[in-house]
Subunit: 373 residues, 2 copies
């Protein structure tokens, strides 16, 4: 640990592909590609670690092919670190296409309908073939409205699966992270943290948050649970969230984040700015000669106007998707990097206050005029 | 003119946005964007002049908005030169959605079905608002199978429209190019060249080629007509074509080319290489660790394998479209730049022979194994 500021921490994640400064935001590259970007784009953004998704890569192009081509880093020509998800999130997000039993989960492929079996050992085997820097265990992620007995059952299954995962062989230098479930019940979370924390994982993740519960509920869970996670291991909040969520996570002591929000929302026309979000489809932007955000160093803001991006979005030009993605990732990466600097300088509280005050103005100040698209 | 080699020429096109070395290939940016690329991408490729399309820009976002934002260069943040098409090609390509009369053409918008009137004066007015560096006159482009009387009627109408266009006001520094029609009949072509050549245009274009006639027929027309075009003015072959077509055009003395082929085919999975084209959807590429073309300086070839591009294409990842477009434009730009060097060094014949010999191997050598996608 490099520095502490309240519960917040600044440190490093040491991987086989370099040291990553934390807190860190990890762009999501589900299918071995951060959508619309190239590796050069990610390097220009200063991204040092990205995600790949075991479920998606297992289906296409398949772990054997990736292994034959030298692993996921070589396959997608990415020199930084890679964390691979386990497929546990798909237990939640594809719950209409899977059956769950004590030994694992069977998905009906979203690509061709074929049945795909994922077990704790199988998932670690796939991640071994991918040779990611950080492998996640298979877990069961219940929905936010699951009754307590279902949350408890998912915890217990996740613990049994975690024990099986730590027995599995891993790629050279590969780190292994456990996943803590427990829904939004702090007592259950702490109980599961105890169980998972006893296993020999190099890092611990919180799963099953940001899956439908109100943000204040999640923030309360973070404030109660994260400070009690082991001090000496990286803490990863999976799949979360909005800028406000990231600030809450950092304040509570989270080190690592990933989320599709900046990339997916970019493609849907939503661009992040200090005061909230703007919807580039809004007619107000059609003749606006300003950049999306004054002073933003991304290619979109350095070179293009809101008017031009609004045109590209309307015309469904491919160029839009890359520029918007670059902007939103720049926003997310900078938000977290600035928090890290604030922690190092012992001024996180002031930083959080400043960012939250800007966000409290909300997107209504940005998109105030009525749309007449 | 800087140099001649046979009928071929190396020279410069002087525009309000810089000098462009010719022969030159101009990437097509129909809707104020070369599909999937940014201005930075085009600069990295060394593109110095790109196309915009009057018909598409008139419909969306409209010339008034572009003019208000400082013209097409400012709107799309492009510092190089821009040539705007006139909408004459859409007289051909949208012939199911337009009615033609002696005063102009009425399109039914492909966006919202509204009626859009284009006259010679109106088209020059739009291009004046766009403030492109080179404006094209409105012409009537007949299909390749049009009977001689229709070809002649289109020529005569194109001449009348050209006379009206030269009377129209233009943007400061804007060049104006006339368009020669005449189908594949050399006598008609020469007759129309005579009529258009008499008007005060800064350059002359051949329209109505590459619209369905066999390549050898087009090449014969080029060989017979281009050497008789005025020596002192740039010669532009509109909308053509394959690498073989470009070599034939350069050999005959063409200075400027544009075509959607490199960009459109990239998106459809067809990648240009010295020996022809490869279809990235072909199963043979799925585990091929080689770049698309060894030695190609584009980002796709410097960093990625055929296997990775094949995966991105299958997964419909947005990243594919940019990488493939970069590669194909690199191929086209380099093909023409190398021809220019050959002309300057008086070795064009050897260059043409070498490129044609490589292409004679054809794509069959690249995609020889059967697809089992």
């Amino acid at each position: 640990m490099q520095a502490r500021d309240g519960h917040a921490r600044a440190g490093h994640l040491r991987t086989a592909h370099g040291e990553v400064e934390t807190p860190v935001f990890m762009p999501v590259g589900t299918q071995a590609s951060v959508k619309a970007l190239s590796g050069g784009d990610l390097e220009a953004l200063g991204a040092r670690i990205i995600l790949g998704n075991t479920y998606h890569l297992a289906l296409r192009p398949g772990p054997e092919l990736i292994a034959r081509l030298g692993g996921l880093h070589a396959f997608q020509s990415w020199r930084g670190a890679i964390l691979t998800d386990s497929g546990g999130y798909q237990v939640f997000s594809l719950r209409g296409r899977r059956t769950l039993d004590d030994d694992g989960v069977t998905f009906q492929s979203h690509l061709d309908g074929s049945l795909q079996r994922f077990t704790p050992e199988g998932v670690m085997g796939i991640q071994r073939a991918l040779a990611s820097d950080v492998a996640m265990v298979l877990d069961e992620c219940p929905p936010s409205d699951a009754p307590p007995e279902q949350v408890r059952a998912a915890m217990e299954r996740t613990t049994r699966w975690a024990r099986r995962c730590v027995e599995a062989e891993r790629a050279p230098g590969q780190l292994r992270f456990g996943i803590v479930q427990g829904g939004t019940d702090v007592a259950l979370r702490l109980e599961h943290l105890q169980a998972i924390g006893e296993l020999p994982f190099e890092g611990l993740a919180l799963g099953g948050l940001g899956v439908g519960e109100p943000p204040p509920v999640m923030h309360a869970v973070l404030a109660a649970v994260v400070p009690r996670m082991p001090e000496d291991r990286p803490r990863y909040l999976m799949g979360v969230g909005t800028p406000i969520d990231l600030l809450a996570g950092i304040e509570a002591g989270i080190d690592m984040f990933d989320c599709v929000m900046p990339t997916r929302n970019a493609r849907n026309g939503q661009l992040f700015v200090r005061t909230g979000r703007l919807n580039i489809a809004n007619a107000v932007h059609r003749d606006d000669p300003r950049p999306v955000e004054e002073g933003c160093p991304c290619e979109a803001c350095r070179r293009y106007t809101r008017a031009y991006l609004a045109h590209l979005f309307r015309a469904k030009e491919l160029t839009y998707y890359r520029l918007a993605t670059l902007h939103n990732l720049q926003h997310y990466l900078d938000l977290v990097r600035a928090a890290r600097s604030a922690i190092l300088e012992g001024r996180l509280a002031a930083y959080l206050q400043e960012r939250r005050a800007a966000l409290a103005q909300d997107e209504s100040t940005v998109d105030s005029r009525q749309s007449t698209v």
